[in-house]
């Protein structure tokens, strides 16, 4: 019994500590963004790694998401004789919900894991200690460019996802299933408001922050992992955890943000 209480206490302390560390990490990373010297190149490099290199996978996922939405929507709407609403159904689902969430999940899998592994390896091979020793703030030098890049890339990727998704929906709905092109776009124009676009953009901005925060912090604190953050195994465990945690966080925050903004 005593051992159980001990274990529970130990676990509670570990997770409270971890939460505190994550909080301090977020604050120091945001401060790092505003600390001079300001350098554009590291940010551009990260935008390339997080954003540009994700464009293909985002476009691919977006196209098929839009296509399947059109397919499902067409057969559902046909039962009510309102296939003219297909355009707005596809656009609203993408812009408000699927665009931000799916693009965030794809970026988590592609770039989030890479961020965590990169920082984790730098931690276990003393490269982050070396930065500290050279009086170079690792938050400013290493983490801040990833934060800025993620906050810029995610909304941009979300827009690409939405546009390609609508195009995918158009191909299936209009070109394959024969919905009227004018009805498809006029329905969309009538139903999508600025608020919907704002909601989608805000969500993807928030998801960008969540992903880069969780993935960087898991890599940064890999040496403090409860299961032993040593060597390649420690980094691989931290990376898996980071991807799972980020994905869950994206879905949870999606619900919370929707509940607030709707």
């Amino acid at each position: 019994m005593l051992r159980l209480i001990n274990k529970l206490g130990e676990l509670t302390l570990y997770y409270v500590n971890m939460l505190g560390r994550m909080g301090v990490f977020l604050v120091l990373s945001i401060i790092g963004i505003f600390r001079p010297p300001y350098k554009l190149f590291p940010i551009l490099k990260q935008i390339n790694s997080i954003g540009s290199q994700s464009i293909f996978v985002i476009a691919f996922t977006g196209a098929f998401t839009g296509a399947v939405l059109a397919l499902q929507g067409y057969y559902t709407l046909r039962q009510f004789g309102s296939v003219g609403l297909l355009g707005s159904a596809v656009a609203l689902s993408l812009i408000r919900e699927l665009g931000p969430v799916l693009s965030a999940l794809m970026v988590t899998g592609r770039a989030g894991s890479a961020i965590c592994a990169e920082i984790g390896i730098m931690r276990i091979s003393e490269q982050i200690d070396a930065l500290d020793c050279m009086a170079i703030d690792p938050y400013r030098y290493l983490i801040a460019p990833k934060f800025v890049a993620s906050l810029i890339s995610l909304p941009a990727l979300n827009f690409i996802f939405n546009i390609v998704g609508i195009a995918g929906g158009y191909v299936v709905g209009v070109l394959i299933l024969g919905v009227n092109s004018g009805a498809f776009f006029s329905g969309m124009e009538a139903s999508v408001t600025n608020d919907d676009i704002f909601m989608g953009a805000l969500k993807s901005f928030a998801f960008g922050l969540l992903i880069v925060w969780i993935c960087s912090a898991r890599g940064f604190f890999v040496h403090l992992d409860r299961a032993g953050g040593f060597g390649a195994e420690g980094v691989s465990r931290a990376t898996t955890n980071a991807v799972v945690l980020s994905s869950v966080a994206v879905l949870v925050f999606d619900y919370l943000l929707t509940a607030i903004l709707i």
Binding site: P37, E118, I121, M122, S125, E126, Q127, D129, A130, D132, C133, M134, A135, I136, D137, Y141
Partner: protein
């Protein structure tokens, strides 16, 4: 002693979980001198380096660097103190996504307002000092262990630090490369005049470089003496350590006959 202690460890105690690594460390590092910290593996030699840098906080005690207790310092003040240091890590800790030139240029790019031309000139000069001309474009994974240490040394001395800390600078190197690192250490220290702290178990070779030797054993600094005096020490712990690393030391002819 008349010398000025630039680093002082006072009653430093440090535990990791249930294991107490440092029970009570008292150590003075004198300005401009070379202090070598020796001891068997697992005695916490590298931990002393990390305590001096403020990377590990002792459980109790003081670490005074240049007159300031760094155990009580905030992040920003600590950064300022760290600018006094150059560090050569055991693993060299080079940035593996940057090439040799970028690694050595990093402190200059991040901590000075020098132009790219000035940086290139200075990096080339430093790489020349450590015999690494022509390796600028190579990545750490493409060069040997000895070369990596030399790049680490070039990076450590780039901003002409007041104190350079060497964590096992010759571990994993063959005797020829070890000699080379020591030669470079000697020449750079003569040129730049920095205070050196070397953590090593390369006994007795490293004694040749040392002004003082600190022997760490069982959580305490057992002796802090110049190398010649250390070798004459009657302290049984020191004698046992020296015998285990240098072979049997005979203090009298009678002992030799036995």
């Amino acid at each position: 002693m008349s010398e000025n202690a630039i680093i002082k460890l006072i009653d430093v105690r440090k535990s990791f979980g249930k294991q107490t690594v440092h029970k009570q460390i008292n150590l003075d590092i004198y300005e401009g001198k070379t202090t070598v910290i020796v001891g068997e593996s697992g005695q916490g030699k590298s931990v002393i380096i990390k305590e001096i840098l403020g990377l590990i906080k002792p459980d109790s005690g003081q670490v005074i660097v240049d007159g300031h207790d760094i155990t009580k310092m905030k992040k920003k003040a600590l950064e300022k103190i760290r600018s006094l240091f150059g560090v050569l890590f055991q693993s060299a800790a080079l940035f593996d996504s940057l090439n040799v030139f970028e690694n050595v240029a990093l402190p200059l790019r991040e901590r000075t307002d020098m132009s790219e031309e000035e940086i290139a000139r200075q990096v080339d000069e430093t790489l020349g000092i450590v015999d690494l001309d022509g390796s600028q474009d190579k990545y750490p994974a493409q060069i040997s262990g000895g070369m990596r240490k030399r790049v680490g040394l070039a990076r450590a001395i780039q901003l002409s630090p007041k104190i350079v800390l060497f964590d096992e600078p010759t571990t994993g190197l063959d005797p020829a490369k070890t000699e080379e690192i020591y030669r470079l250490f000697y020449s750079t220290q003569r040129k730049l005049g920095y205070t050196a702290v070397i953590v090593s178990h390369d006994v007795p070779k490293v004694f040749k470089l040392a002004d003082y030797i600190a022997v760490l054993h069982d959580g305490y600094i057992q002796e802090f003496l110049p190398p010649e005096e250390l070798q004459r020490s009657e302290n049984p712990i020191i004698r046992a350590f020296l015998e285990s690393t240098m072979g049997k030391i005979y203090s009298s002819e009678a002992e030799m006959v036995e």
